[in-house]
Amino acid sequence: MGNKINIWFLSSLLISMIVAIPIVTVFSSFFEPTSDYLSIVKNTFLYEYISNSIILVIGVLITTFVIGVGSAYLVSFYKFPGVNFFKWVLILSFAVPAYIYAYSLTAFFENYGTAFSIMKSLFGDGNYNSFLPKFDGMLGAIISISFSLFGYVYVLTRTSFHYQSQNLLELGKNLGFSTKKTFFNIILPSARPAIIAGLSLVAMETLSDFGAVSFFGISTLTTGIYDAWISFDDLALANRISFFLLIFIFGLFYLENLSRKKAQYHSPAKGNFKTKTLKQLNGYKSLMAIIFCSFVFLASFIFPVLQMLYWTIKFPKHFIDLNIIELLSNTLILVFLSGFLLIFLSFVSNYGNRISKNKLLNILTTFSITGYAVPGIILAVAFITFISWFDENIFYFFDIKQIFIGSILGLVTVYFVRFYSLANNGIKSGYLKINYSIDESAYLLGYSKLKTFLNIHIPYLKNSVLLIAILLSIEIIKELPITLIMRPFNFETFATQAYIFASQDLLEAAAAPSLLLIMIASIFILITSKYMFKDK
């Protein structure tokens, strides 16, 4: 209500427009004619793209469900040796991007790979290749993506389990349910929204994945878009494929949003929270729990780290040749600039929303968070397409292409589009916790809007902002396709350096930047874990 158009409205409008650029670009060329490749694609590819994408997503969902929910259940309800250790090391998997996992998996299991070398050094010569499993192709992609993404399911489910009330469990006992029945009839259903939210995120990320699937040479909708757009130079075809992908993704996006809202109903008020008594596991069961958690931890984090470390040590030349300082500073510049911009503008939008209570503004904001659902590769190329069009048709008196394409600014802009929803939702959920009467109280005590923001909001949101900043940093450090396409001359990050070596069949050279990437992301995660599981 009140005055409809003000500074908050205009800035939110601007943010929404920037974020909407790629989607609008994709759809605006939807009706353009496409080349002959369309018929080839229709006849041969499209079915394969879709079926591969579906197989991939289903495979990843099943795997992440089992390892994510399984490990979350064990560490949330039971006591066994090392449980507190597992509780937080399992989130380290966030530090390993799927494409680096894919490199490790290939390096280890390929013919005459690391596994072969280990067998040979242990048992002498032998034809180990024939019985070592080959984790490549679809299987490899499913494993790589699952282990790098199961953290979403783990963290969300764990949080939900954490807030699950003791009463609920006691109810199960009262009704005489077995452990199994309690799990399937009480624990699992009440955590369902969180699990679905986690799985939807996983599915969205899987559909957007480029690095791992292209490494394993699997044609999915994402690589299909890339091929159509970049290889066949057929924008219209790319858009048609994007359309399919976006349908999938927006479905998931909706599902995730819906589940998250439901998940909120399930987390009880602070006051009612009663610490659960954890069940002590003994003997055989305890051993099984340790084995399961160890397996997940080893497979998701230790395995890729060791493989990369092994290569870094085995081929030290590549490590020595690496310009670590430059890679690090490039990576950090991107992290700081984007992080600052994202958080600053999320604040602008959320604060504007809060004080102007404008419904239209609310809708705009909701619209502007869709960027996260669109694969980075679409965002980057669509952004370039848009800037070129804009440059030629509207802004022809000044060369904006130079400013946006192949520059830090352009790169940061596309990161902004991609990660705005992450930042915005983070700040938003923080703000949701501040009752509006808190603001009113401050006004009534004579605090101006600015003072309220500085003295009340900022201190309150300090922790959420820090958490979001770190999550953004991790995402940006790992980001590949956007960086690859948008970065300036001679500008490499750990991610692009690793990818470039890997795409040149120099996996052993990709090891050092991969390892450094994982290390930096791990440091950020260690800082985050303090907040992620803060038991208030």
Binding site: D36, I40, T44, F45, T106, E110, N111, Y112, F116, S117, K120, N127, N129, S130, D136, G137, F216, G217, S219, D227, W229, I230, S231, D233, K314, F315, D321, L337, L341, F344, V381, I384, T385, S388, D391, D399, K401, Q402, I403, I405, G406, S407, I408, L409, V412, L484, I485, R487, P488, F489, N490, E492, I500, F501, S503, Q504, D505, L506, E508, A509
Partner: protein, 339 residues
């Protein structure tokens, strides 16, 4: 503050770009040795070399999108078909100097681009399971022979080297016949295509297949021990074989580059291209990348020489023609069920 920082960064990059005496290379080749070569070039001429590396088509896309504002001077990639296709879009300028024309055989260049190194796509076999008698007179065409049923490995049809190879077959044998051939070849596959060229050779070493088709430099790379002792030993279990020696010769491909139409520094780009074709640069390149030199008077790496010297190269099929048939090649492969 934020604006100032951004502005400073923008200016910084502008400043960097507008420096005189530089050349901007968009390269799909990511060899460290290439970077070393550029450094040598800079030391020699004072011209700074900026490199944007990326996947070839992504680079092309960016150059195309940037249009007249593109900062790119030189585009370097592997595969002649790609160069030809990019040329066909009018992205290169007619810039091959007399010097370059004199050095590079006409088969491996056009007026607008030139090869800088060569590679052959050949057959690898397991001497344990395949006798040289079986291989005698083997051609790409004869790989469709049913005696190889379940014995051949090759990478996917989306691979550009395969597309160029099949394009050369279409050029020589026609589309229909090549389709027939491809169908039979697919039925000879030992497994669904996967992995890179090196993985094909390793599959033969590991006993998964008897024959592999792969580029020459992958094999030498493994033999050099740069991929570790185990892969070196594995490569030693496999031998190379150059096909089509009795007719047109072994299929050749190139790494190459051209000066872009909107190049801001075409003179510097030409200098760099010419530098890459000097004996010094060629020697450095072949020693590190295991490719064949583009010019006369440079010896390939000894591991490459050991694979077979003076084999017959297919000089009849111009590499510049690959682009014409690559689309057909892809279609043929897909229709034959080549994943």
């Amino acid at each position: 503050m934020k604006k100032i920082t951004l502005l400073a960064l923008i200016l910084f990059f502008f400043a960097k770009m507008s420096l005189a005496g530089e050349v901007n290379v968009f390269s799909a080749r990511h060899y460290d040795s290439d970077i070393q070569l550029y450094e040598k070039f800079t030391n020699k001429t004072g011209i700074k070399v900026n490199v944007v590396s990326g996947k070839d088509k992504a680079l092309q896309k960016r150059i195309t999108e940037e249009g007249k504002d593109s900062k790119a001077d030189l585009y370097i990639t592997a595969d002649a078909g790609r160069l030809g296709a990019f040329d066909e879009k009018g992205m290169f300028q007619n810039s091959m100097s007399a010097q370059i024309k004199a050095l590079v055989p006409a088969n491996f260049r056009s007026d607008n681009w030139t090869g800088i190194a060569k590679r052959a796509r050949i057959i690898y076999y397991s001497p344990e399971r395949v006798s040289s008698e079986d291989l005698k007179g083997i051609t790409y065409e004869s790989l469709s022979d049913s005696k190889w049923k379940g014995k051949i490995v090759i990478r996917k049809s989306n691979n550009i080297y395969n597309q160029s190879l099949v394009a050369s077959l279409i050029k020589n044998n026609g589309k229909e016949q090549t389709l027939e051939w491809a169908k039979k070849l697919v039925s000879n596959f030992a497994r669904n295509p996967k992995g890179n060229d090196r993985a094909q050779i390793l599959a033969v070493a590991a006993g998964e297949a008897d024959l592999a088709i792969a580029n020459t430099y992958y094999y030498a790379l493994m033999l050099s021990g740069q991929k570790g002792e185990d892969q070196k030993e594995a490569a030693q279990k496999v031998l190379p074989y150059f096909p089509n020696q009795n007719d047109r010769g072994t299929h050749m491909n190139i790494s190459g580059g051209g000066i872009l139409k909107n190049s801001p520094n075409p003179e510097n780009a030409k200098k760099l291209l010419e530098f890459l074709l000097t004996k010094e640069a060629q020697q450095h390149m072949v020693n590190n990348t295991f490719e064949y030199p583009m010019i006369e008077g440079v010896e390939p790496h000894h591991l490459i020489k050991k694979m077979g010297e003076n084999f017959k190269q297919d000089l009849k099929t111009k590499v510049g023609d690959y682009k014409k048939n690559q689309a057909d090649a892809l279609e043929v492969m897909l229709m034959s069920g080549w994943k």
